[in-house]
Symmetry: D3
Subunit: 157 residues, 6 copies
């Protein structure tokens, strides 16, 4: 049976840290569906459609990665795409508590769904979308935090 994992997040924007998790995840799963969560309450940096574009551009050559938008529960996304695994990257002990809670809630709602966790490599431990947004907002250079070949400015409008 094909091993399908979802990799859910806001990805506003998708960073080098996310790319590292997907890259490792491809050694575990046959297919990874990156689920871009749309939360109308949050006004972020990139509109949802541009976040999807960025990820699609990045994985244009990788047929085992798919991208889609979702707005409901993560477990519903998993059911919709036939995934039995959630892939998550762990950076620090605060993340850990959050992810364990998510895992436990998800397991109550969809017991067959397994949460698989990979450690973020040390050099990306501090990297988060919110830091990238802040650096962009203040005119700093976001290039060191973005996947190679991806320029944030191309997705801003």
């Amino acid at each position: 049976m094909e091993k399908i994992a979802i990799f859910p997040g806001s990805f506003d924007p998708f960073t080098l840290g996310h790319q590292s998790v997907v890259s490792d995840g491809l050694q575990l799963f046959d297919k990874i569906v990156i689920g871009v969560g749309i939360n109308s309450a949050k006004t972020g940096l990139l509109p949802a459609s541009r976040r999807l574009d960025l990820i699609r551009d990045l994985y244009r050559e990788e047929s085992r990665v798919e991208v889609c938008e979702y707005s409901g529960l993560t477990v519903d996304l998993a059911r919709r795409v036939g995934a039995r695994y959630i892939l998550r990257g762990l950076r620090n002990s605060v993340d850990f508590e959050f992810e364990r809670n998510m895992m436990q809630v998800n397991q109550t709602l969809y017991p067959e769904l397994m949460t698989v966790v990979l450690f973020t490599p040390p050099r990306y431990v501090a990297l988060s979308s919110s830091f990238v947004r802040e650096i962009h907002q203040f005119g700093g250079d976001t290039a060191p935090f973005m996947p190679a070949g991806i320029h944030l400015k191309n997705y801003l409008k």
Copy 2:
């Protein structure tokens, strides 16, 4: 002297996890006053009056539990109802740091007030009002997280 504790929170909504803490607390205290904090800045799921209704319905038979609304400092609620104890449930190490800070601030403002902490049972460790709100918002089933006999939809309007 009667041992009175307050159990403060937003309770939007009151969950199985809260019920577990109150249930254990009743073995320690003579009376527990559940204080529903009203924070005008936050727009939540249930209006304050309905959060109170939910808790009153739940403890209709338990004369040792009272419910009230409050909008100021927690220590002022304690003084108002004559409580010498604050009851709190601890889920994880992030909670821990937050609760210790609250304890220390409260002790500066009202030195006689003692913070008493009970561990949340493992099966409720991931359970929080915000998760219940999110599950509700996305059309998921909140029943597994609510006290027996309490249906969230009855309190929504």
Copy 3:
């Protein structure tokens, strides 16, 4: 029904931090049984009998505090003395994880036993028996860490 709690530990030696927890605990419980755990594997500073003497001297005037030695499971001590509560002091987030584990194991072995946690006051957060032993071993002054009127040297032989 009388509310009896055990307060288990090695107490080698009993410090100001322990005293603070017992003092607060006496506002919650009718009786506190301080259980001095004897672990033959560890060679500590004070022999078990002297650790008991120290605590007995300290609580000579307090009829609601008892002291006893035990060498088995903590839950067995609780059963033996008729206690339904374990009293514990929490200092930091590392303590937290340890105590939650203990609570969960104890609850499997003796479901009616409730773990009640009090925060160590900020000024005693760093205080542990092992620090006192180390300070003593290197010739430092242990008085600032010991209960008033208790001199460590009186219990060394």
Copy 4:
């Protein structure tokens, strides 16, 4: 290519918690090699050969689980059995820091080795081999913590 993971540990003894991690891991990997680390410095409960026997008895029907003894570096075990993955179970935030350190050291020594982490289910979060040893030592009942059908006493001599 066959996906082989090692699951290293002392397993003194193998518990319900370990069984849960292996069971989940079998949904990710084609083969799991349980590596029983022999550390001559530690004198534990079960001799190494009996720890292996216990695990072999448990997985007698599961051809995808193998057990072996090892005494060197974990990365050397991985190389020896041709594994590209280390499977680990995470219980709490203290575990988290330890496991991340191990991951980072292992990656320096064997960059192709990927650490895959699964969350321990909430009901086993407190369960550790050292607690089981302590319960056994003090005459408590270890059955609630051991895999079904495995009796610790059968492996003691």
Copy 5:
């Protein structure tokens, strides 16, 4: 070469805890520039100009402390004032993870900048600007949390 550190924050308001960090920092650095970050998105208690006034009043006699407002990246403030050090106070393990992330991001953007961390004294560990704001909002007494001689009400308008 003169050792210049920036001490960045929102300081809404500057508290006893901040004062303690600056006071210790003056034993390490020749000059400390307190940078009051202006984040237009947040509506706080004190307007930026009044937060600066408060800090200036406090350090009127201390020529080695300067105060300025900034609205961009912290590393840009450091470059602008010629600082090679960022001074930070650490209260608890949640702070720790946040500060380490900041350090790592800052080091990517400005490798020569060193983050120097001092522990907040135990009695101020729970003290934060947000607690002071909350106490003020609910009519509590903020004096125990403010530097001697500084009255919050003088800066409110």
Copy 6:
């Protein structure tokens, strides 16, 4: 006044991580005294005299670094060498709790002593003397964890 810091530890052996802390510390202090703690209870890898040799060889050209052996309290070492600062490197949140406790105990014994903390760079976060000892013991290559030009085998006998 000259700024002297002690950098205490077991340093069995001194690693790349320690070197990184000293290197950063030299930008803060005029002199750093590396104090090699001799704890007769622990049998480690290197005898004390060889640990000192290793550090002396490393800092042969750096007149601002001194090395000495000590066997008592850290605060007594600080007093002996006239240091007003303790320099410490922080790796993770477990370290954090330990270091804060040490700071608090030291401050009780020697109030003028200030603990100054630097973050370990991400690539050394997992690096500890005990990992190096373990890698050595099992025949692994310790070179990636040691300062450039320092070969562990030269100090073993």
